[in-house]
Structure formats: structure tokens, C-alpha cells
């Protein structure tokens, strides 16, 4: 029987969980989240600076490049608490951009960019295209070598925080093979970005027209490692998505519990009724299971084979748990749940976003069948 993962929790994870729990609750009350939803940038630059000062962007970056030299699994408790408080900002996209450089960047790119990311310079990935395929190797954008530089063509979509990012790492075809290219935002004209209308209003995403953008030849990430890097990013993005989702699931359940304990109908709090109580318990149990999978995936992430199984299991479970908890959160808030003012919709929208990014439960189950059977 193959190893499909196990629980593990490091001292660093414990410390980060404790500090992130307090910090995120403090800086991201839901009123602040709602205010930022209508803000152009979509996040609070002061909070972003604080996150940088706390060293959280440096967690999974090697010490040689100004990082703390910990693992991606150590980032998980931080992202979980950000998800719980719907904390907006480019934390995950910057962490993933660093992962792209660690896994597939050239020595020069790592030396130049990783210390910046560790210190709080925002960055992002541009991996998806028109059909929004979850297979990251389904690429049509191209890079072509010209006189001393590279010319890009094509369009990437759902590029998170592209306006705030200083660096964008895009997937393109190079000599008909998948490749990654590091784009300095100064070479991207404002007109190349279109802000997209997305389901999760706490985030910012853009389509990025690559046509006409030129970058130096040195901007290409190591072509020999491009496929492996894309595979790594697929799992890394899903791991961090699971963390956000578990945090969001917890919050959706907590909101529902508060309401069920205080909303009176027919003379009793609605949480008294088993028709309400039992599905909340079902959502809670599902949440605890998803969270157990999350920390198994975090612990086993770097283990060849097991890491992939554990991450796909965690995403399949997080999708089911978050979708169910947020769906029931709307229902159990009754008429209020149908309004924009009720926070239940924030979680339901976010669950849809995460299912659409990196694959939903059905997608990961199919992959798991291939890995397990």
C-alpha cells in the first residue's frame, strides 16, 4: 500500500499559526474587508508593509536569498488565517512567484529577484489562458527570440494582483515547448491590463495582453526545468488554496453558528431545531476533515509521490467542505442570507473562485484515481 500522507506539525508552524491568528483578526475585520472590496487597489498597503516586516514573505525562501529557509508547508498556517479573515493582498501570488524562481529560475534571476520578494516586493504568476484549462501545459502564448531580446505574444487571464505586482512570471511556448518568462512590470503598458469582473470581490484579477511586450533574453527561466516548475506550481498553488479555503470554511461555520444561536424564530433560537443543527454539524465535521488533510499535505509536500497525493486529497476535501459550509451558511441566514449585506455570500463566492482555480473536487479525484489505482 502506498504512502498517502500523515499528520505532522512543526514548531515553526505552531509559532506562525499563533501570530497569524492574532494578526489577521486584528488587521482584517470584515468591515475592513468590505471597504477594500470597493477600493481600486483592493488591499491595504500599510498591512502589506507589516506583513513584509513580520518576515512572512521570507518564510519559504532560502537563506542565501534573504529568506528564512523554511518550507512551503510553513507558509500554510499564515495563509489559513488570512483566508479565515478574508485578508486581501498579494501574499499568495508573491509566495508562488518565489516558488517559480526557486524551482525553475536561473542563478541570476534568483539572486536579483528573490531578495526583493522576501522583503515585500509584490509579484504574481500568469499561467492561465482563454479556455481556463487546469492543465498548465495547455499554453498558446509565445515568446520569440529577436535581436538580443525576447518578444511576447498572446493573452493570459485571471492574473491576480497584476496591477500591484512588480514582477510577473508568465507561462509561454518557447520553441514550441512550455517555458516561463520573468516580466518586469515597467515593460507592461497600462493598456495591456484589463481588470476582470470576478466572482470573489475581495481579490483583483486582470487579463494581460502580452502582444508587443519585449523582455531581455535573460528573462527566460531555465527551459530545462520549465515542465517540472509548472508541475510544482500547480501543487504549490493548490496547497495554499487549501489553506485559504480551510480558513474560509471555519469562518463560514462560525458566522452560521453565531446566527443560529441568536436568531429567534417560533420562540426559539433557530440552532435549537435539528433541521438546522445537524447540517451545521455535518459542515463542521467536513471542515475538521479538510483541515486534517491540509496539514497532512503541508507536512508531506516535499515528499516525491506522497506530496502530490496529499495535496490533491486536500484540495478535493477543501472544495467539498468550503462549498458545503458556505452554501449552508447562506441558507441558514434565511432572508438575510439572500442579501448582499450578509457575509455568507463572501465565503460562497470565494469557494467558487478556489474551485475554479487549480481544479475542483472532480478534477482532483480523477487525478487521484490515476495515482492510487
Amino acid at each position: 500500500m502506498q504512502d498517502i500522507g500523515r499528520m505532522g506539525f512543526s514548531e515553526a508552524q505552531g509559532d506562525l499559526l499563533e501570530s497569524a491568528t492574532a494578526f489577521c483578526a486584528d488587521v482584517s475585520p470584515v468591515a475592513r474587508v468590505r471597504a477594500l472590496m470597493t477600493d481600486d487597489l483592493g488591499h491595504d498597503p500599510a498591512v502589506w508593509r507589516q506583513i513584509g516586516e513580520l518576515g512572512w514573505l521570507a518564510i519559504a525562501i532560502p537563506e542565501a536569498f534573504g529568506g528564512l529557509g523554511l518550507e512551503l508547508g510553513d507558509v500554510v498556517p499564515v495563509v489559513e488565517q488570512m483566508g479565515r479573515r478574508l485578508l486581501a493582498g498579494p501574499y499568495v501570488s508573491t509566495t508562488l512567484a518565489a516558488q517559480a524562481l526557486i524551482a525553475g529560475g536561473t542563478d541570476a534571476q534568483r539572486a536579483e529577484v528573490l531578495p526583493q520578494l522576501a522583503a515585500g516586493t509584490p509579484a504574481t504568476l500568469a499561467l492561465m489562458e482563454g479556455a481556463a484549462d487546469w492543465d498548465l501545459e495547455a499554453i498558446t502564448a509565445t515568446v520569440t527570440a529577436g535581436a538580443g531580446n525576447l518578444t511576447l505574444a498572446g493573452t493570459k487571464i485571471l492574473v491576480e494582483n497584476a496591477d500591484a505586482a512588480r514582477w510577473i512570471i508568465a507561462s509561454v511556448l518557447h520553441e514550441r515547448q512550455p517555458a516561463l518568462v520573468l516580466i518586469d512590470r515597467v515593460s507592461v503598458a497600462e493598456t495591456a491590463l484589463r481588470r476582470e469582473t470576478i466572482i470573489d470581490e475581495t481579490r483583483r484579477a486582470f487579463s494581460l495582453t502580452l502582444d508587443g511586450i519585449t523582455v531581455p533574453a535573460s528573462a527566460l527561466l531555465d527551459p530545462a526545468r520549465a515542465a517540472a516548475t509548472l508541475a510544482h506550481l500547480h501543487l504549490a498553488a493548490n496547497l495554499l488554496a487549501c489553506a485559504e479555503m480551510c480558513g474560509g470554511t471555519q469562518a463560514a461555520i462560525d458566522d452560521t453558528l453565531d446566527y443560529a444561536k441568536t436568531r429567534i424564530q417560533f420562540g426559539k433560537p433557530i440552532g435549537t431545531y435539528q433541521g438546522v443543527k445537524h447540517p451545521i454539524v455535518a459542515a463542521y465535521v467536513r471542515y475538521e476533515q479538510a483541515r486534517s488533510h491540509l496539514y497532512s499535505a503541508a507536512h508531506c509536500f516535499n515528499e516525491q509521490g506522497t506530496g502530490e497525493i496529499a495535496v490533491r486529497m486536500a484540495k478535493a476535501e477543501a472544495d467539498a467542505a468550503f462549498s458545503f459550509a458556505a452554501d449552508r451558511a447562506i441558507q441558514f441566514h434565511g432572508g438575510f442570507g439572500f442579501t448582499y449585506d450578509c457575509d455568507a455570500q463572501l465565503y460562497r463566492r470565494r469557494a467558487i473562485w478556489h474551485a475554479a482555480q487549480g481544479g475542483d473536487r472532480a478534477f482532483h479525484k480523477k487525478k487521484l484515481a490515476e495515482l492510487l489505482f
Binding site: 500522507g5 453558528l257 443543527k277 445537524h278 486534517s292 488533510h293 496539514y295 486529497m313
Partner: protein, 402 residues
Amino acid sequence: MTAPDPKDLAEYAADADAWFLANVNSDPGFMLPLTFMEVGTDRQFDFLREWQARVHAAGYLGAAWPKEYGGRGLHPDFQAAATAAMRKHNGPIMLNAIGLNWTGPLLLDIGTEDHKQRYLKRILSAEDIWCQGFSEPEHGSDLGNAQTRAVRDGEAYIVNGSKIWTTLGHYADYMILLCRTDPASTRKYDGLSFILTPMKIPGVTTTPIRKLTGEHGFTQTFFADARVPADGLMGKEGEGWKVAMRTLEYERGARGGQAGGYVQTPTNAWAVLDLARRMQRGGKPALDDPDIRSQMVDFILEIQSLELCRQRIAVPALNTDHPAGLPLSSKLMTTEFVRRINEFAITLTGGQGAYYAGDPNAVDYGFWTRAYLNAFSATIGGGTTQIQHNIVGEHVLGLPKG
């Protein structure tokens, strides 16, 4: 207790591994029960009693109980290592479940010296079999409503009434009895007492109950003016509910003190995967069917959920918001999973799902249909799934009582 020397622990674990490898007999030539609730025949009972006695004599049961009461006085990690070895070699279950997991820890906590001397060693050696008398015919999950009466008469209680679902009742030497000593108390929980009751005394009789599988395994127990020695009272008169709830905490593993081993064999989802490979659909393995494949992944995800949640109980930092959440929901999660995966297994056997245990054409001797039907003992017994939802909702999530 100080942490064990890793060298001693490793040596003990290696000895246990070798002992179980040499001594486990999981196929005595008749079907063994999967849980202590399924012991239906004398030969099953005799086999399991002898097995438990041997495990204890070898030092692999009750290893963390004090030496003077039949244990070995070791750190709990030693017993955990022995239990792991037992599991690894598929050792049959420990028979004396109520004694090992309920009575024993309770006596160690609040029993008198006399109780400990009299009962503990004989629990480990299976010389005394214990049963539990909580449920009553009219009050299934509503334990607090017990009506079996106990009236003090000198050095004894005169007991009248009836208990149901007494596992091993026919064989048991003692019962932990929840009974009503004060029918006048205003709160129903206040009038209850918890008494260690001998079973083989005048006025106590048992009638076997035939289960939905056609087998026996439980009794109904009747008390008719039974004189039960009053020195079996645990806690004070009227504190029975508190004591009973304490035993449930041992049973759910929320409190230490259990003797070790296991009293039920976990359903193995991987065995169902193997079944999905062996069974056919249209001349191909059933596992090639996309719908079956998808369901199979669901079940493997779920069994891994249960395993990871079990492991996570040991990580306090990941249990801060609802410290009792995982222990109190584990019965709900596990019992429903077992019921559903066995139901799925029956569907995998296709047309042969029509056979029952005993027919030569039945897949795996009819194991899966029998296991499915027996699975209801756990989704109903010990508080139904519906009551478990209330327990988690009210005691973990703080929702108001109905």
C-alpha cells in the same frame, strides 16, 4: 510520568512484534467476530477469552496499569507499541471490552483499594467478563431517563427492572449498572447511581436477543429483587450520571487509562479497493467503471480523513478552537463511514450481493452483507448518529438544546 527511554521502548516494541508474529492465529477455522459486540457462539467466546489471557500474560495488555493490579507499571507508550504490533499482525480483538475500556480506568481513578485488588487483574486476564447496563428498553439513547430501581436495604441494594443491549450479557460476571436510587429528584439526572453489580446472583437473568443478521450477541437483562452488594457503589448515591459520563470519556479516548489493545477491527477501505479489482462488470474489473472509480476515490479520501483526524488529536495546537471537537465527533464519523463503505462493497459484488453468509456462492463467505448489517450496531449503539449530531452541536459548537 517521565518519558520512556527510547532504547527500552524500542526493545519492548521489537519483542512485541516478534511475539504477535509468532502467536497470532486469525483463522481458527470459523468466522471470528470483528467487534466485541458480535460474539455470538461459545467457540468464538472461548477462543477470544483464551487469546486475551495469553496477550495479558505475555505483557502486552494493561502494560501501563500498575504492577500490583496485574499491569506492568510502564509508560503508556509501551502499551501503544504493543497495540501497534497487535494491529500489524492482525491479531483478533480483545474480548473484555467493557472491563478494559470502561470499568478498569474508572476503578483506577475513583475505585477503592479493595475494588482494585478484586477486579483489575481479572479484567486483564479475562477471568471476569464485564458488561454494561446503561440502555433500557423504553429509553434507547436517553440514558439519563433510566428507570431500573435500586433501593437500599442494609448492606445491599434491591434492584428491579431491565437493561437491554447487554453485550456479552450471557457470559458476563459483572455489570456496570446505571440505576435510579431516588425517583423523587426533580432533575432526572440527579436520582441516578452507578453500581458494580455481580451478574451470577439470584434475581438476575438474561435472555438472548437475535440480531438482524440472524446471530446472537446481545441479551436483555432482567433484575427481579436482586440483592446487589452496596460496596459496589461508585461515587456517591445520586452521582451516577456523572460517573457514567466519565466512563464514556474513557471509551471515547478523551481520557487516558484504557488497558490497550482494540475491541474492534477497523474496516479497511483498501480491502474494498481489492474487492473492486476482483469483481467484474462486463468482463472487466469493476474498478474500471467510471462511476465505481469515482465512488472508490470518495471512500479512500474518507478513510484517510478519519486516520488524519485521529492523528491530529495528538497535536494540541491544531485543536485550540474546539478542543473536544475531534474526539467527540470521531464516533459519528467512523460509524457512518463503516456502514456506508460496507453498503458500497455489497453493490460491488453485483449479482452475488443476493447471497448471504453461509452460501458457497457468496463473495468472501458473505462477509460484506454481514458487515453492513452489523455496522448498524455502531451507528445506533452508544448513542445513535442522530444523538451524536446533537452532542457535537451542543457540546462542541455550543448550539442550544432543543
